[in-house]
């Protein structure tokens, strides 16, 4: 129980000053309640204003220890307005920011003070005599409310009490505000330090000119040890430590750049290498901000320096790739799925005539000739399936309207999730090689024609000789002339093949289609070749009975070629088997030998131009390597197929099929 007679206000205020000088909020509150109870009241409650203008009960303290359990209920159930609204008195002070005194409590007080029925009961139990509410005011406004009560045997709060308690409240408010601010600052500081320590780079502050730091004022975050192996202490041991560890090749430049950044009075970014404690280099990027004094003069800098070694590596790779792309003679471009050009190198500029700025963001359709516009959609269809197109020969049109022969390799561009987002295209000017090819084909055509003329003459004379010498019955002479004639035929075949090849290459291969008896064509081929084969017996199995519409001469050539190969590549064998396999809508022929066979690797390319199997066992067989290419072209021109099935040392079976219509 308090006794007002013992109070000496001056002493009390002095006590207040020493008690409330700490920056610890909780301690200040505790000290405040102990100052008030029991000296000025029997119990008190301190509410603080929190965000949103709501009140929160910080502490309720009773002088009577028996009432501690009521204090607990108050602090638990009536801590805030969650369970019950604040009393009318609290609301009033919150609004008016003025002291409220209820000198003598009567029933009407209970109605206003009770938060709910339970609170009412508890208040009844407490049965106070007098109640006073004092605002805790600072220059920024109301920060809390002190609520005091006296028991029945005391006198009610009066004017003297009001003055004294208001003075205490004023002091207390300032102390509480200071401790709150201090707590806030401390929280911010903690947050900042926490953030700084989590930055994957060093945060630093350096006073003075970059070349002449003043070490005692400098700061560097702990990350320095992780990044460079040096402790902050080592770092701060000398004013120009950061300069000492710069890579010798970068030092001069970095000092110059940093001085410029310092003098700018703003800030800047520079990149350089530091040498770690273990002497390995680290690429770093320093983002600096200049610290100015009141007059705007640079005093120092603070900033963040990041380890960019990995990024730098990636950038170096990228820039190297970019340099390769840029310096390439080929046109290298990229486009999105709509065909909008995204990148365009110098090679593209040279080939197509458009500069990068002219075509970037525009449609690639510009370089498609009118009659090839649909190619774009066909290509994009393939790209959308995630597939590439290799060495596709086509034409494009340049800015000045010139048609260019190009070879294109197009590949899908995918994002990190593997989704196709566009395409890259590498284009090569093949106009020259195309022209060269055209000239070469013309040359081969002309040359083979020219070669045939002397052969015609030789053949004619050899045959006259044969006729003239017939009566002599000289077997040796006949043999010589026969061999000469055969070699001339071989030469003729080779020349014919070259002529066919040049026609295929120049797109001048014309088929002379007619209806013919397929089986008898096979028989003709067999008869022709059987006549020349010494060791092989050619067997024909099956028949089609079909009349086929096609170029008889060309199909005969294919048959002859396959039979010649079968004999040529099966030197030890005794037979070659031909099967005629008729079908509903096509006829297939199989030519099977029992010779050296073709390895799997070579089977794929066997129908390529100038391809010849290059194993040791094949070296002994002469030839140009164009026979199967020509045959495959003839069959394809008939809409048919040609393929091979073979096993090393077992033999090969070549098939071709010709559609009936």
């Amino acid at each position: 129980m308090y006794s007002d007679k013992s109070i000496k206000p001056i002493i009390f205020i002095g006590k207040l000053n020493t008690k409330l000088s700490t920056l610890d909020l909780q301690k200040n509150i505790n000290d405040l309640t102990k100052l008030l109870v029991p000296t000025l009241a029997d119990w008190c409650t301190i509410h603080m204003v929190v965000e949103g203008g709501n009140l929160i009960r910080l502490k309720t303290f009773f002088n009577d220890p028996k009432k501690a359990n009521i204090a607990r209920i108050f602090s638990k159930k009536y801590k805030d307005s969650k369970n019950a609204p604040p009393s009318k008195y609290l609301t009033k002070v919150l609004k008016t920011k003025k002291t409220v005194i209820v000198r003598n409590i009567d029933e009407s007080w209970y109605k206003q003070a009770a938060r709910d029925s339970e609170h009412y009961k508890l208040l009844k139990e407490l049965n106070p005599k007098s109640h006073m509410l004092v605002p805790l005011l600072t220059h920024s406004g109301l920060i809390g409310i002190i609520s005091l009560a006296r028991n029945k045997n005391s006198h009610g709060f009066n004017k003297t009490d009001e003055i004294l308690i208001n003075q205490i409240a004023h002091k207390a408010a300032m102390a509480i505000e200071n401790s709150i601010l201090y707590k806030k600052i401390q929280q911010q500081n903690d947050r900042l330090l926490n953030t700084v320590s989590n930055v994957p780079g060093i945060v630093w502050e350096a006073w003075g000119k970059p070349s002449k730091n003043i070490p005692q004022n400098n700061y560097v975050s702990d990350y320095i040890e992780k990044m460079l192996g040096y402790t902050p202490k080592e770092w701060l041991s000398s004013p120009d430590f950061w300069i000492k560890i710069i890579h010798p090749d970068d030092k001069k430049r970095v000092i110059k750049e940093s001085t410029e950044i310092f003098n700018s009075g703003i800030g800047g970014v520079n990149r350089f290498r530091w040498l770690k404690k273990d002497k390995t280099p680290v690429w770093v990027e320093a983002h600096s901000k200049v610290i100015l004094d009141e007059s705007g003069k640079p005093q120092g800098m603070r900033g963040v320096t990041m380890d960019i070694t990995e990024r730098k590596k990636a950038e170096d790779v990228l820039s190297r790739l970019a340099a390769i792309v840029e310096s390439s003679d080929d046109a290298i471009i990229s486009k999105d799925l709509k065909g909008i050009v995204q990148s365009w190198n110098k090679g593209a500029e040279r080939l197509y005539g458009y500069t990068e700025s002219e075509i970037l963001g525009k449609s690639i359709a510009k370089i498609f000739p009118e009659d090839r516009k649909e190619e774009f959609y066909e290509m994009m269809e393939v790209i959308n399936m995630g597939e590439a197109i290799d060495h596709f020969e086509t034409k494009r049109v340049s800015k000045n309207g010139r048609l260019i022969d190009v070879s294109l390799s197009i590949a899908p561009l995918k994002d990190a999730n593997g989704k196709v987002i566009g395409a890259s295209a590498i284009g090569r000017d093949i106009s020259e090689s195309k022209e060269l090819e055209r000239r070469k084909d013309a040359f081969i055509g002309m040359a083979s024609h020219e070669l045939k003329t002397p052969i015609t003459t030789m053949k004619a004379f050899v045959q006259i000789l044969q006729k003239k010498l017939e009566p002599l019955k000289d077997a040796k002479l006949e043999y010589f002339l026969d061999k000469t004639n055969q070699q001339l035929d071989r030469l003729t075949d080779l020349i014919s093949s070259l002529l066919d090849l040049s026609k295929i290459q120049s797109g001048q291969l014309d088929l002379n289609k007619e209806k013919f008896d397929f089986d008898s064509l096979i028989s003709t081929a067999v008869e022709d070749i059987q006549g020349l084969a010494n060791n092989h017996k050619i067997q024909v199995k099956g028949k089609s009975g079909y009349i086929v519409y096609g170029d008889k001469h060309r199909i005969l050539q294919v048959m002859t070629n396959l039979l010649n190969n079968a004999i040529k590549y099966s030197p030890g064998a005794e037979k070659v088997v031909i099967k005629i396999l008729p079908d509903e809508n096509k006829v297939t022929v199989a030519v099977q030998d029992f010779g050296i066979g073709i390895s799997k690797v070579h089977q794929k390319r066997i129908f390529d131009r100038f391809f010849r199997a290059s194993g040791a066992s094949e070296k002994t067989f002469p030839g140009l390597g164009i026979g199967l290419y020509i045959s495959s072209q003839f069959i394809h021109r008939h809409g048919g197929k040609i393929w091979v099935d073979s096993a090393k040392q077992k033999g090969s079976t070549f098939y071709f099929s010709i559609p009936l219509k």
């Binding site: 024609h449 015609t456 053949k459 004619a460 045959q463 006259i464 006729k467 026609k503 001469h553």
Partner: protein
Amino acid sequence: MGKILIIDDDKGVLDAMRAILEFEGHDVSTLAKFENLNFLKEKFSLILVDYLLSGKDGKILIKKIKKSPQAKKVAVIMLSAHPDAKEASVQAGADDFISKPFEMDELIEKVNKFLKSV
């Protein structure tokens, strides 16, 4: 048996063909160069023409021969080193085609066939 004219710009071919046909007992004239159709003043039973004559097209020559009043009924066989030239030769009006280099028997057979029908 009538006379045969061979027109080819290659002297070697002319000689060889002449040798074969004369060996078979034919009366043969050869012509390597011509400016106009004056050579048709002589009467031939068969004319053999090369497809590609230097500077001139054998097909055009055949067309002219087939239009000329003095030789329009004369059989013409075309020869070429291009085996594919057969169709074009027939279109130009040739009665037959022999690809170069030819088998002697084939030449003799075709020549005889036309001379017999004359």
